[in-house]
Symmetry: none
Subunit: 406 residues, 2 copies
């Protein structure tokens, strides 16, 4: 069994870096705070006897040797970057749970056949730089290193420059690092486990995701003298598309999702009719067919909005991953460990993307969910119970040991 108090203490210590007044964490990818968080986790890894490798996109792999150095490591991890109004557990739990597994193996002087690795991936959140899940995406070849390097934040700073600045521009070629199997423990970030009063979610797979940038171009003009009939009000056209995004999500239950999370209005002055509105669209579903249907519907709606309004509207897909079923052997390892340990459990499809979906392209992968309070995440009030976090970490320990052969 893992040490739940130690896991909790490490979570709380890491959460102090970027702590917000409302009890959350703001530690954006590749910021000074991200550097501080990375340095702390790396120092813990070294204290636990692990060697550290960093690749060219800043992914960090901490290595605990096995009896057989020729075997690819059984890896577990997640991310430590957060949303602008993020919580203490999203991502951080997966990294520190994996670290706690290693600390527990050390406590009991257990040597495994295969090496064990603790990973944290760069810029999972995608808040500061798109694409989201950048580090694991580059690692598995979903997009190129050059594409990721060129990504800019709103101040125009690039990923390449920021990686170098914080000292995490490593030398390993992404994807060259071997993986035997990958597990990721994570808070559910949704209400399903809590509603059903279960402790462990076995995750059969992850919803596919399609992200877009949409820009409506009208003509800015003075709000007083410009008659209603002569306006080209970009915001009014945009609001209809924003509503259709939600309609599309509603049209394909139970896994359809449609969200507009980000809006920018130009020039954003009280008495100026908006000349340009830029906003994000997030569509998700459980099968490629349904996600494709939703994709076609939003494109058709944008097209007809442009024709009926006479305004120019551009829509560009900026991120995409298909629905991802996890490897049956890893899913079974989680299910078996949960049963052995006697935790209440159910299957929960993940609505959020995780680094595990990209790891799954290179190695058998699986995930373990634990409940979070009111299903709330990407919010400073995100919360989880220490006993649930311990339970998930115990399941992780057992599932990893099964794959790494103690």
């Amino acid at each position: 069994r893992i040490n739940g108090d130690r896991l909790w203490a490490s979570l709380m210590e890491l959460a102090q870096i970027g702590a917000t007044a409302k009890g959350g964490v703001k530690r954006l990818a590749l910021s000074d705070l991200d550097k501080q968080g990375r340095d702390l986790v790396v120092s813990w890894g070294k204290q636990a006897g692990m060697t550290v490798a960093v690749d060219k996109i800043g992914n960090v792999f901490m290595h605990r040797a096995g009896r057989n150095a020729a075997l690819p490591p059984v890896m577990s991890g997640s991310h430590i970057d957060t949303q602008p109004t993020g919580g203490k557990f999203d991502g951080n739990y997966g990294v520190l749970a994996a670290l706690e597994v290693v600390r527990t193996l050390n406590d009991h002087q257990i040597q495994t056949e295969a090496p064990i690795e603790v990973a944290f991936w760069t810029n999972e959140e995608g808040s500061r730089f798109v694409p989201v899940m950048m580090g694991s995406g580059v690692f598995c070849g979903a997009f190129t290193l050059e594409h990721a390097y060129a990504a800019k934040d709103i101040d125009g700073k690039t990923v390449a420059d920021e990686l170098a600045r914080i000292g995490y521009l490593g030398t390993e070629e992404p994807g060259q690092h071997p993986i035997g199997a990958y597990f990721e423990a994570h808070i559910e970030q949704g209400p399903v486990l809590e509603d059903a009063d279960k402790v462990i979610g076995v995750v059969p797979g992850v919803l596919g995701l399609s992200w877009y940038d949409c820009v409506v171009t009208g003509m800015e003009a003075h709000a007083g003298p410009t008659p209603m009939g002569l306006r080209k009000d970009a915001l009014q056209v945009a609001t209809h598309i924003m509503q259709e995004v939600v309609n599309i999500g509603n049209r394909y239950p139970p896994y359809g999702r449609g969200t507009v999370g980000m809006v920018q209005v130009f020039p954003n002055s009280r008495n100026v009719i908006p000349g340009e509105v830029k906003f994000s669209i997030d569509l998700r579903n459980v099968s490629s067919e349904l996600l494709d249907t939703m994709h076609n519907e939003i494109l058709a709606f944008v097209d007809s909005s442009s024709q009926s309004s006479g305004l120019k509207i551009s829509i560009e897909r900026v991120s995409y991953f298909p629905p991802c079923p996890f490897h049956p052997e890893c899913v079974d390892a989680v299910r078996k460990a949960t049963a052995e340990l006697g935790y209440s459990t159910m299957d929960v499809v993940s609505g959020a993307g995780h680094d595990a979906i990209y790891a799954a392209r290179l190695a058998p992968s699986g995930m373990i969910f634990v409940p979070c309070k009111d299903g709330i995440s990407h919010n400073e009030i995100e919360d989880a119970k220490a006993e649930h976090l311990s339970a998930g970490c115990n399941v992780l320990l057992h599932a990893m040991l099964e794959r790494a052969q103690p």
Copy 2:
């Protein structure tokens, strides 16, 4: 007849102070550039033989004596502060047209019975400090000097401090300065005159205005794992209100206006369901009854949106002035002058607020509009034709002479 070339040359010279790369002007109220602009206009006033008075809110009155010193002056003016992305003509034209009237009277050695005054009012635009039309508003008692003094820009600098800093904290009590009649020449800032191919707009009055801040509070949550039915999406509720603002504007033609110009989404992240949306509402119409109806309709809509969505929605009125019909004698003076001079003309109700609406509370007032290119204003590409600016200035000369009895 006034000297159109001299008027144009003065406009272009003043426009160099704060000139932007795109051909516009950025000369924010009470900035160093505003001081330079004020100093230049005051030096021109003195060269034209006028004496200068400044009041406690920085309004400047330049005085040309009449035969009868006991008569209140016939005044004309506007403002020289600009929007952050402003043009060369908004406000500046009204001040320099009034100066050109005095220069023309000097050229022809015309003495008037009543004195003539050229005024410019502090912070008409309201971009750096709210409320808008601050100088004329304090002057007529629409709000207090203390309220205006306390207004802060985004850096926390106050109106009182900035007035003192640029040397325009005068000694005259605002509102004590006598006015016999007030005229203001201005670009239309809308497309009506250009569309109808007319040179002079006779302005019967100004639309009343009601400004609001509206805040919808939902619950931010992760866009992936949160099922559609369990969301409290603040943006989706807000978009319906934003559409209703425009519907209300459309419902009361021809003068109804409904605009949402400013939107802030919180936390404004692509995969977070918005937890809070704040936006501005701008409603206008020609009669108090219609504006009150529109006011009641938006309040009722917000109320029913809150009830049907279960989300908290606050709406607060942050600015208001009632519709302002100008004085029949001043409107007639403009109409008569236009007819005498043979310019094509039509009536144009002003959709934008002007200093004249506050002057109108203390003295008979009227306005003269000239066309601006494509009806565009509050934009660096704002443009107007020299011949139209001359025509408006000639109308101003004749209307002022009628009131001041040559």
